[in-house]
């Protein structure tokens, strides 16, 4: 391990309503791979965004190569040699590999671009890195793994001194990961400083030298990888603090009937052989890390995405759900994680959104019964304490929490028995959050059943009667709330095949 190249000290960053980073420290050294770990929302990405100038820090200092600096924007960081290799690749798929690597700083011959020279330079670069890619190949024809390597090559060609890998392995196959690791080890031996963000415990053990753990926007600590166990790291990630009262036992009677049964559901790459049961009056939590396939499972179940195979039973009857229309017909309502895109029609009014799934109840002959529509909308506005001046207010003018209430009102108007809440409190402030929780508890008390997908561990432990854990499209665990702990859920969420 070499000398320190970059230090972040006391970094503080707040967004409206969220203290995203609370005096966080980070130290990166030459010739080492530092793992940056933490649950979803722990602040890893925010910290890296502060480092590379995407966000401005509120407080704290960044020292790079002995000098205090603050990058104005990502290209200034890149200029100085601090480069992020993103999870979503920023590649222009219609250009060649070489054209991608030299984008924005093309090699010219007079006033013309010298493609031959660029190919030559790219080939040299690949040779240095032991990467086998044809620089003249079109980027879109490469596998994701190869594309990632091009991104790394591009970083190197910018004379990178610090490379940050943001979940680089998320889309890679085993072999590709091996190749990636070979390159990373190579770079380490040449003295490169690297930060490796990942959720995958095995990879952390395999490739990193030290682990820095973050939790809820704070710095927890840094340990030497080879001296620590997987459990040590998990314990640091979840901590010992209990923030809100978790549920200690299920509120669902043992003999509650099964309202929804899903058997061997397969859909695309993200849903593999998922089976589960939902009981009447139950909140079934779906836990897991980002990209575990929970939303995809819900969407396939709801008919929003096509499913490849699998059976769905509602109240014991086998049903064929091909579209959201079918799902709604069978009494399922879906509250999307991305309200603005999939939940509300923002340009329409509260009343119009409320009746969207139930139009036929509001018809008087051929015409919409506006009076009845407004009445029902008002009833829900009052019952859910939605803050809106009138029911004719366009939803775009409401806050996140109130938009969520409008979506809930939509499905309540429909009188759905099964509700899928996908990240019900994402982007919602604390006050509105507990209102949504109260509401969910009232709904199950009335005999409705809820599937709750949540990336917040505390939310899962506070709300669920039973928890299903997914990892990489598979169900990796199912546990009653009385036995659930942050540790065992996190353990199941990282069970890779």
């Amino acid at each position: 391990m070499g000398e320190v190249i970059l230090t972040m000290k006391g970094i503080d960053k707040s967004f409206p309503g969220v203290h995203a980073l609370d005096h966080v420290d980070l130290e990166i050294r030459k010739g080492e791979v530092l793992a940056l770990m933490g649950e979803n929302g722990a602040g890893k990405s925010t910290l890296m965004k502060v480092l590379t100038g995407i966000y401005k820090k509120d407080e704290g200092t960044i020292t790079y190569e002995g000098k205090e600096i603050e990058f104005e924007n990502p290209s200034a960081a890149q200029e100085a040699g601090v480069i992020i290799v993103h999870q979503e690749l920023n590649m222009l798929s219609h250009l060649t590999v070489a054209q991608n690597i030299f984008i924005g700083r093309e090699i010219m011959k007079g006033s013309m671009i010298d493609d031959a020279k660029m190919n030559e330079e790219a080939a040299k670069l690949f040779k240095k890195l032991n990467i086998d890619i044809d620089p003249a190949e079109t980027m879109g024809n490469l596998t994701v793994g190869k594309q990632q390597m091009c991104e790394i090559a591009k970083a190197i060609s910018h004379e990178a001194k610090v490379i940050i890998f943001d979940e680089p392995s998320a889309a890679l196959t085993e072999t590709e990961i091996e190749e990636l690791f070979k390159i990373i080890r190579d770079l380490r031996d040449k003295g490169m400083a690297m930060v490796y963000i990942s959720h995958r415990m095995d990879e952390i053990k395999a490739i990193t030298d030290r682990v820095t753990v973050m939790r809820d926007g704070t710095y927890v600590g840094t340990i030497i990888t080879k001296d620590s166990t997987k459990d040590d790291i998990i314990n640091m990630m979840v901590g010992r603090v209990i923030y809100e009262d978790p549920k200690t036992q299920s509120n669902v009677p043992k003999d509650a009937p099964v309202v929804l049964k899903v058997e061997h559901l397969n859909a695309g790459k993200m849903v593999k052989d998922v089976s589960f049961e939902l009981h009447k009056g139950e909140i079934l939590g779906f836990s897991g890390l980002m990209g575990a396939g929970r939303t995809e499972t819900a969407r396939a179940l709801f008919g929003a995405d096509p499913k490849d195979s699998g059976d769905i039973y509602i109240n014991g009857q086998k049903v064929d759900i091909k579209s959201p229309q079918d799902a709604v017909k069978y009494g399922i309502g879906y509250l999307s994680e991305d309200r603005k895109r999939y939940g509300v029609v923002v340009g329409k009014t509260v009343a119009e959104n409320t009746t969207m799934a139930t139009m036929e109840k509001f018809m008087k002959g051929l015409f919409i019964n506006k009076k009845k529509e407004d009445e029902v909308a008002w009833t829900h506005v009052k019952a859910l304490k939605t803050k809106t001046p009138t029911v004719d207010t366009e939803v775009v003018n409401l806050s996140g929490g109130n938009q969520q209430k409008v979506v809930i009102a939509k499905w309540l108007t429909r009188d759905c028995d099964i509700l899928i809440f996908d990240e019900p409190t994402r982007g919602i402030d604390i006050g509105a959050k507990s209102e949504i929780y109260t509401l969910m508890n009232e709904l199950v008390a009335q005999g409705k059943s809820i599937i709750m997908i949540s990336s917040e561990m505390t939310e899962v432990l506070r709300m669920s009667d039973r928890v299903i854990v997914m990892c990489e499209g598979r169900k990796t665990g199912e546990i009653d709330i009385s036995e659930a702990t942050q540790e065992n859920i996190m353990h199941m969420a990282t069970l890779r095949k």
């Binding site: 709801f302 929003a304 579209s323 959201p324 229309q325 799902a327 709604v328 017909k329 879906y334 999307s336 895109r341 999939y342 939940g343 509300v344 029609v345 923002v346 340009g347 329409k348 119009e352 969207m356 799934a357 139009m359 036929e360 018809m363 051929l366 015409f367 919409i368 506006k370 775009v396 939509k410 429909r414």
Partner: protein, 325 residues
């Protein structure tokens, strides 16, 4: 009293919409301007002929407003309108069928084309611009084939010619305007107060959220294009009533008049908002310009430039409004 004034103003704005009020003002201003500048403009014959030439544009514009509200477009309406008039006329003049049959066929052709456009856009999910550009070319080719490359002349005494302009004694009355107002009224009610209308707006506003609410978006999306086609069929009838002979290809470019009218009238190109009444106002902005500009000595080329500028302003307003949201 001041409070009352404010209330009545808000009432007007909420019922008609800000942009429509502006457009209404523009119409009044343009009309006054041309009346002052030109003696001929303020004659009854000019007004009558201006109305005559507005019916087919109005029907097309009402139709295309539906396509625009879904966030799409329909470029096939101009050549389509002419093509349907030709096909209807062909059945009457070449095959000797009654005028009424030709009348029905003209409208039916529009509905069929609307179904086809709807199929391309809603089911195959082709980009509306390209899909309807293709059907525009198909309509144009069809028209040429049916006429054998020349033109079709409906019988001069075809009954429907009298439903747009009625003569009582010496005087002629623009009866067509009544049909246009009726169509605007019915389609406004359809758009604002029926389930299909509500869904068509919702699709233009956020198709995915509408789909996830369990709405059959394909069906209603298609319906918007079928309505557009049906009104193009009506436009075909109006066109056949206005012009003695119809040449294949003479409708090219007329779709732009209709689309301009809708956008001037406040229909958003991003979908999700628009009113039929606004479209009607847009139609008359276009008609007044088309009639008035030559009368103050600006010839066709200048008219196009001015129309282009008017459209740019309308689109600019739409973009600014879109950004605000």
């Amino acid at each position: 009293m001041a409070g009352n004034d404010k209330k009545s103003k808000n009432f007007l704005v909420s019922k008609i919409g800000g942009q429509q009020l502006i457009v209404l003002g523009v119409i009044v201003a343009l009309f006054a301007f041309f009346c002052i500048k030109s003696d001929i403009f303020r004659s009854y014959t000019t007004i009558l002929s201006m109305l005559d030439f507005s019916y087919f544009v109005a029907f097309m514009a009402i139709g295309v407003t539906f396509a625009l509200i879904t966030g799409g477009n329909d470029l096939s309406i101009g050549t389509g309108m002419v093509c349907y008039g030709i096909i209807g006329g062909f059945f009457v003049t070449k095959l000797g069928l009654p005028v009424t049959v030709g009348f029905v066929i003209t409208i039916l052709c529009g509905v069929l084309m609307g179904c086809f456009n709807g199929f391309l856009v809603a089911i195959l999910e082709l980009p509306p611009f390209i899909a309807t550009l293709s059907t525009m070319m198909i309509a144009r080719g069809l028209g040429s084939i049916v006429t054998g490359g020349s033109s079709i002349t409906w019988p001069a005494d075809a009954w429907f010619k009298n439903i747009f302009k009625i003569s009582i004694g010496e005087a002629k009355y623009p009866l067509g305007f009544v049909w246009v107002v009726l169509a605007v009224t019915i389609m406004t009610i359809f758009l604002r107060h029926t389930k299909p209308g509500r869904y068509i707006i919702a699709i233009g506003s956020n198709k995915e959220a509408t789909r996830l609410s369990g709405v059959n978006v394909i069906k209603w999306h298609m319906l918007a294009y079928i309505i557009c086609g049906m009104f193009t069929g009506f436009a075909g009838v109006a066109y056949s009533a206005t012009f003695p002979t119809i040449a294949a290809g003479s409708g090219a470019g007329l779709e732009l008049d209709a689309i301009c009218a809708a956008i001037i009238g406040g229909t958003s190109m991003y979908g999700g908002s628009g009113t039929i009444f606004g479209t009607l106002l847009g139609v008359y902005v276009m008609s007044i310009l088309k009639t008035g500009l030559p009368l103050i000595g600006l010839q066709a080329n200048w008219q196009q430039i001015i129309t282009g500028i008017v459209l740019l302003v309308a689109v600019f307003i739409d973009v600014v409004r879109g950004k605000k949201n």
